[in-house]
Symmetry: C2
Subunit: 139 residues, 2 copies
């Protein structure tokens, strides 16, 4: 187990066009690949790699951020389901994948990772528009 992040930790350095909001203990950003529209990463600002390494107080704040972000995605994209995942095999710094899912999306109903595809990177202007829509849906 990696106990702390190392110098390869670049998750907190995202392009400005993809920034959505700073929440209680996390940073919400639009994922670079928008094959699944609204796919976001929610990145813990502290450096840690497993949920059980956090204090209960930070964990509670983290999960409240997760819910605030997921509910904003629900309002903005009207998915049938939100998918949540903390993986970190390649970038162990704690970050949540939050993916609005729709019947008929390219992987439905399977996990998004079953769908091999070329990344669909939005233009900077389009990324700013989507980030703004999610920001407005945050409460």
């Amino acid at each position: 187990m990696r106990g702390t992040c190392d110098e390869r930790c670049r998750l907190l350095e995202m392009p400005a066009d993809h920034a959505i909001a700073e929440l209680s203990v996390t940073r919400l950003v639009l994922y670079e690949d928008q094959t699944f529209p609204g796919y976001c990463l929610l990145v813990l600002r502290d450096h840690a790699t497993e949920l059980f390494q956090l204090t209960p107080a930070v964990r509670t704040a983290l999960v409240e951020d997760v819910c605030r972000a997921a509910e904003a995605l629900q309002r903005a994209f009207r998915p049938i389901k939100i998918n949540y995942a903390v993986l970190g095999n390649q970038s162990p710094h704690i970050h949540w994948h939050l993916v609005p899912r729709h019947p008929g999306d390219p992987a439905w109903p399977r996990p998004v990772w079953t769908h091999a595809h070329e990344k669909q990177v939005p233009s900077p202007g389009r990324a700013r528009e989507v980030a703004q829509a999610i920001r407005e849906a945050l409460r």
Copy 2:
């Protein structure tokens, strides 16, 4: 969005050989497919489909259960990383996939769902042994 579970919700009915423990608000069970040894499901006992539908108190209890289970998997299997996911596209009842990951496992370092494979269902006796090992690692 599905607001509540429906009659297809069968996640709380798992074979007895796969039962590990009843935690605060969840039931921990060994996943039927053990291609990734120690892969567990942590199933919320209440019926709900999105984390943001839960009260903050239930959410906090849920995440403490997640961490207790994940730490037990860490002790029992010594993975380099735990993967956590709440998907629910096919079974929307809230359940966490908890997967101990090792360099050299069949999908490493990609998400387990990228690895198409036949299920490896353990014998009832083997399932009971693995469940017992995880139970003993719970604190």
